[in-house]
């Protein structure tokens, strides 16, 4: 008997419905075959399904079973077809009644008949909503992802037996109620450093605050041990939580890459991805023969921290240029072209030279001019042009590190919580400004938005013009300056961008161009 079960396949962030056709034939040599371009993980579904059915108290039929994954010309992968195949076999054996409503079945089976956490459930639920498929049967541990989507009935399934009872009407599974918009979970304790722990570096802290408030790219330069990494790692503590739409975008990417822990739902805290400089280009940008999102997409709507910036291979860094401008990355392979969102805030840290002490007031730099040139040439002009804030993080005075004085400074300097309050307020101004535009911060503004939204006073415009002429700034820099000025104004809840704001923005831009 033939049964058709609906499931889905993901390509990038797109979802295509897949019909799982299961035929259990009385005639013919017994066997179990899966066709429709399955890869190894689907091929292995045979053993999982077989054992799971036996361990759920069903006698596995000693008959000719053929499973076809239609459309048959698309290569398929993943363990998510275990459940539809198992249900298809059961229905073909008339052990279970297929639901009358169109339903999605999705999930990996454990050998004991239980369902395991499976990646991509959020995308499945979104597809169900678009295709007007009412019921979605997914593993219990993944169901919270799906429950975010409205208009779809999500059934969390613990094991096969439970699902069989549900479909046969013996005992219903309770629908998961929609998780309504979602309070940000208690502030994560994962933040490594508090801003008040960082001694000195007041100007750097100010710049980082501006960057976090507007989502601007920032580049920190200084000798080893000055606190660059600490500053960067403290950013999660001052980052505003994700807005509803932002959270959905982030969760989509995390869902499809399997980065959501079992039982997890919508991601509310802003991503912070720190990529080591040995990360490959594909690891950073995304790619592979079956395109997979890279670190820049995992940092979407969040922070991408690249420590030891010049140590990254040149090709890797240059590949960042286009996504930094467009906020997305298109990956084209033979299998097809896939676009992943990649609107991240870049935080880069570097030493000024190979030995690290160039320009240090106390320690002498041992590098030859040639070495310094070579080191600094790794960071190309076009790349640095895309970074809005360039700051120096000088070495900290030993006196300030002494316990007594450190304590005093900790008392004086604001904590991450206090800074966060300011940042969140500035973000709220931005949310309000860009409502309905799918833009969430000043850094994401396109030039036409600058014209529409930025209210720059005359004096400030004059200063901008002067700066562009004096320093020979590019058109891109000009617009980026306005964006940073706007963020500084937002931090003060100012209605207008004044000359003072522009002057501060300018100071972060010019300093590193010496």
């Amino acid at each position: 008997m033939l049964t058709k079960v609906l499931s889905a396949a993901h390509f990038g962030l797109e979802t295509i419905p897949i019909e799982v056709e299961v035929n259990v034939a009385k005639k013919g040599f017994p066997g179990f075959n899966i066709i429709g371009l399955p890869n190894k993980s689907i091929e292995e579904a045979k053993e999982r399904v077989k054992t799971a059915l036996i361990n759920s108290g069903v006698e596995f039929p000693n008959l000719k079973i053929i499973v076809n994954l239609a459309p048959a010309d698309i290569p398929k992968e993943g363990s998510l077809y275990d459940l539809p195949i198992a249900i298809g076999i059961l229905a073909s054996m008339q052990e279970v009644l297929m639901p009358k409503e169109k339903s999605f079945f999705y999930g990996e089976l454990s050998l004991d008949g239980g369902l395991r956490h499976t990646r991509g459930v959020l995308l499945l639920a979104l597809a169900a909503k678009n295709l007007r498929i009412r019921d979605v049967f997914v593993p219990g541990q993944s169901a919270y992802e799906a429950a975010v989507v409205g208009g779809v009935s999500v059934y969390p399934v613990k094991n096969l037996e439970e699902l069989v009872n549900h479909l046969n009407g013996a005992q219903k599974i309770n629908k998961l109620p929609r998780t309504k918009s979602l309070k940000p979970e208690a502030e994560s304790e994962l933040v490594e450093f508090d801003f008040s722990e960082i001694v000195g570096q007041e100007s750097a802290k100010r710049a980082v605050t501006i960057a976090a408030a507007g989502g601007h790219n920032i580049f920190m330069q200084g000798p080893p041990g000055a606190g660059k990494t600490m500053l960067a790692r403290a950013i999660p503590g001052i980052s505003p939580p994700l807005g509803d739409e932002e959270a959905l975008e982030v969760t989509k990417i995390y869902s499809v890459t399997g980065n959501i822990p079992p039982g997890g739902g919508l991601i509310r805290s802003r991503p912070f991805r720190a990529a080591h400089h040995t990360t490959s280009r594909i690891g950073l940008i995304g790619g592979g023969s079956n395109p997979h999102p890279g670190e820049i997409s995992l940092a979407h709507n969040g922070v991408l921290f690249l420590d030891e910036f010049p140590e990254f291979p040149r090709a890797t860094l240059e590949a960042l240029r286009q996504p930094m401008e467009d906020g997305k990355v298109s990956i084209t392979r033979i299998a097809g072209s896939i676009t992943f969102p990649a609107r991240f805030m870049l935080v880069a840290a570097a030493n000024p030279c190979p030995c690290g002490y160039l320009g240090d007031p106390k320690k002498e730099c041992k590098c030859s001019p040639r070495m310094i040139m070579k080191y600094q040439a790794k960071l190309s002009g076009p790349l640095m042009d895309r970074i809005d804030l360039h700051i120096q993080v000088p070495a900290v005075d030993v006196d300030k590190l002494m316990p007594a004085s450190a304590k005093a400074s900790a008392r004086r300097s604001p904590t991450s919580g206090q800074i966060r309050g300011k940042v969140v307020k500035a973000r709220q101004v931005q949310y309000k400004r860009f409502k309905g535009l799918k833009i969430y911060n000043n850094a994401n503004m396109k030039n036409k938005h600058i014209k529409d939204f930025c209210n720059i006073d005359k004096e400030a415009l004059g200063l901008l013009k002067q700066a562009v002429n004096t320093y020979g700034l590019s058109a891109r820099t000009y617009f980026r300056l306005i964006k940073v000025s706007q963020t500084i104004a937002d931090l003060e809840q100012g209605r207008k961008v004044t000359a003072q704001h522009v002057a501060e923005a300018l100071q972060y831009r010019i300093r590193a161009q010496e």
């Binding site: 040599f29 017994p30 066997g31």
Partner: protein
């Protein structure tokens, strides 16, 4: 153990031969073997339209199904082995090749209990994988 298996195999072959005999198969050869392998039964059979076909039969017997069914023991590799043996046989017997230009491979799967009584016997015609 080996002795034991051979005995069982003999039983299986006999059971299969008598079953196929009842079905109208004519056994040409039993336990045909070369140094490359063996084939359990070689038969001819005329189907409903009166056409005669040459059939190579793989017999698989298991005592109890606790360690898997005999069907599970027949896979692609076993089938291609049977096919190779069939070609050997036809090469060695050109007069048969002339009479039956094509052939098929069947399987007979037998399960016996501990007293070696047949619990079930299934005949599968024309295997393809």
């Amino acid at each position: 153990m080996k002795q034991f298996n051979r005995e069982l195999g003999k039983i299986g072959e006999n059971e299969a031969a008598s079953y196929l005999g009842k079905k109208g198969y004519r056994v040409l050869e039993r336990n045909y073997y070369t140094r490359f392998g063996e084939i359990d039964l070689i038969c001819t059979h005329s189907n409903s339209s009166g056409q005669e076909r040459l059939v190579f039969v793989e017999v698989k017997l298991k005592q109890g199904e606790d360690f898997g069914t005999p069907e599970e023991m027949i896979d692609k590799r076993k089938l291609s082995q049977a096919e190779r043996m069939a070609n050997f046989y036809l090469m060695a017997n050109p007069q048969i090749l002339e009479k039956y230009p094509s052939f098929s491979i069947d399987a007979v799967c037998i399960v016996v209990d501990e007293n070696r009584r047949v619990k079930r016997l299934n005949h599968y015609e024309n295997l393809t994988f």
